[in-house]
Symmetry: C2
Subunit: 492 residues, 2 copies
Amino acid sequence: MTAYDDLMAFQRQTEALARVAGRLGWDQETVMPRGATGQRAEEMGAMESVLHARRTDPRVADWLAAIDPDTLDAAGRANLRHIRRDHDRAVKVPADLAAEIARVTSLSQGIWAEARRTEDFDAFAPTLRQVLDLRRREAAALAGDGDLYDALLDDYEPGATGAGIEALFGALRPRLVALREAVLGAEKRPPALAGHYDEAAQLQLAREMAETFGYDFHRGRLDRAVHPFSSGSGSDVRITTRTVAAEPFNCLYSTIHETGHACYELGIDDAHALTPLGQGVSLGVHESQSRIYENQLGRSRAFTGYLFGRMQAMFGDLGIADADAFYATVNRVAPGYIRTEADEVHYNLHILLRFDLERALLSGDLPVADLPDAWNTRFEKDFGVRVDRPSHGCLQDVHWSVGLIGYFPTYTLGNVYAGCLLQAMKQAVPDLDAQLARGDTAAATGWLRDNLQRHGGLRAPRATIAHACGFEPNEEPLLDYLETKFRSLYDL
Amino acid sequence: MTAYDDLMAFQRQTEALARVAGRLGWDQETVMPRGATGQRAEEMGAMESVLHARRTDPRVADWLAAIDPDTLDAAGRANLRHIRRDHDRAVKVPADLAAEIARVTSLSQGIWAEARRTEDFDAFAPTLRQVLDLRRREAAALAGDGDLYDALLDDYEPGATGAGIEALFGALRPRLVALREAVLGAEKRPPALAGHYDEAAQLQLAREMAETFGYDFHRGRLDRAVHPFSSGSGSDVRITTRTVAAEPFNCLYSTIHETGHACYELGIDDAHALTPLGQGVSLGVHESQSRIYENQLGRSRAFTGYLFGRMQAMFGDLGIADADAFYATVNRVAPGYIRTEADEVHYNLHILLRFDLERALLSGDLPVADLPDAWNTRFEKDFGVRVDRPSHGCLQDVHWSVGLIGYFPTYTLGNVYAGCLLQAMKQAVPDLDAQLARGDTAAATGWLRDNLQRHGGLRAPRATIAHACGFEPNEEPLLDYLETKFRSLYDL
């Protein structure tokens, strides 16, 4: 056994334990008895302690020091990078700070939920201050002389920086605002879907859509949960969805979205199983897969034509004249307060707002007490609507309450990456629309699997996209895609 | 922090991790995608490694040495006993032997299942030899100068010995054989239940029966699985059942049985949560709870009268004249090859046979090659029927294939304990039958909870029963119960 073999044997167990810890989350959101909440917190805490002890194990540093990377192949060197990075990050954060963050954020979510329910920002403000202070201390421990926000962002999107995101979002913003104004000023006003749709039938069609997009039920399952998510890596990747009688698109498109996440995990080469390469490389790249499945493919004119037929077969008459009208309804643009319900034109504007505010919160430029005003002012400027209550404004998302600072920008990064991938995919699959029109996603998802998914964590996030696309990722393809799609849809 | 506090804080995390490992088993048998089998084996192996490392952690020995038991209360001293016992057992078994046993027994179950399917004992014999050899080596490491079988039995039933079981079973055997012969020679022949019963309705009634026997769905759930089981401790204890259209009693009584196991775990005082006292103290005591719920209560004349009404309400006419006839059908005695399908009269004879054979296998007195003949000869002697195929004989149970030697006798111990508990319960609840006749089990299960279940691992197994009953456990109450019940039922 070489030092590398020893390290990888140790890491293999760590990865297996991380899978177990992750599955506790799935269990909690789907099947756990409600009365088990307290015990579950202790179980998750114990698993986190075990994982933290392994990540900071002094033997890992010894093995890393003993290995000559030049004796390894590309996968071996990539494994070393991931393990070194995780180890370095873990040892920099004092154990008592990590424990305090875990303790506080396990409670803060409940305080946020209650404040949102009662529309009482002041009830949440002290908690948000505490969470921000703890994450600021963690960022300081991680950053050394570097930027605090970058240190946190790097956890979700390795290699990304606040300055880089700022430049990217600066390039997106004017064209998104212009497109939004043009669409909302158009004469055309597609109607929303009307009526109620049997929820069991929604689930059945959601299951069919997951299969249509290549989800492997032999290595996964679909359950209901309050919030849709994908969970797991390797050969056990489970997705969830929800149903609302009046909103079948919510169920169907959240399922296709989670199918994108799951197919990324399931598409990684078996050779990387239970190694650091055996999971999606970053949140941004992950979101590129969920978004391209959901939007660039799933909300395309070609695929919605197929879906129109499947929905009619399942539900009968939808009160929609033809496939063109159905396409317009699926892609209907309407301003709204809530990020998770936003259409493709509005979605990134929600993210740009959050990015600017969370950077200012972390740096202290924006005091917590001023957050509602800052949010509402910015929202009115970007969306033309005054926020009417905190749950429609700065209390709508769970993220900040559990300390997820630096997480939001990965959603828009994912959209930018999805735009790039669609452009490259269209080159590789010239008859893509003809295939999607008959509900055949095999070439599209196969191209993603072969050029991106199967490599897992082999390359850094941006390099993963660049490798698949053949060009450096940038915002142009997404903007071109959105402008072309929605100008055409709204006869502009 | 005293050494005891440190030890218990460490142990609390170990207990939480053991809960997580246990839930992996539940997940595998109920919801796991079939394609995840390989990864799951690595996950369970990693959890076992973590748990083994904690059980053998040198700090545990240091803490144990530093604690003066006289400074502790009864619960504290009991915790020390459990922790010392687990630590001593774990350090005695060489790590490479433990790993080899884990490896071999993870494969041997599949070999057994295939041999059973093809009725080919010879295909299983080499594996059984290997498993026996490994367990013999483990027993030698544990036993020192002591008895090998005792060393293994002690894992399932602390304090029990092969000699003690032999004496107990020797006292049971003649009266069980005599009762069996008398019943089978009776003129009365109650018919089996006929017809087919909707499986969804069976599940619904099973759920109702679990609630009737006090199962708390707030801290548990009922799912389907190939083999019914109860899983978990503390505030998350889940049960499973199965349905066969022609066999509603199978679904209903396996559910009541598992409800007994689950109520034991759920009934333990919260003060013992995530300590060594926070789970059932032995397999025998556990089985006393499942058996008394299923048989002494669930198959009583009083309760079956209530169930008759509930089944008629759910399924309509059962083709059975009245509650007396229903009682006779529920308790119908018929010889059969299969232990898990045996009636109360035959059940313990199945166990007595296995106990004698597994002791002889472990000692080497019975060579593996001679097992089928030895089984079939003994079976014909005890049951009056010639075994017609291995799956009806020595290949029917999974236990030996996965190295569970010393496990079988705990089933009959549980029946003996259930007999004692019924006798004491009848003293404490004089109108028990009147309550059961209206489907009210609250006093019966409440008595068990107050006198036995809530104490968890506070006392040793026999002492747990003695404390609840007010007398030393012995075989007389079970034999009296069986003779009275079945002589009356068969007009003898």
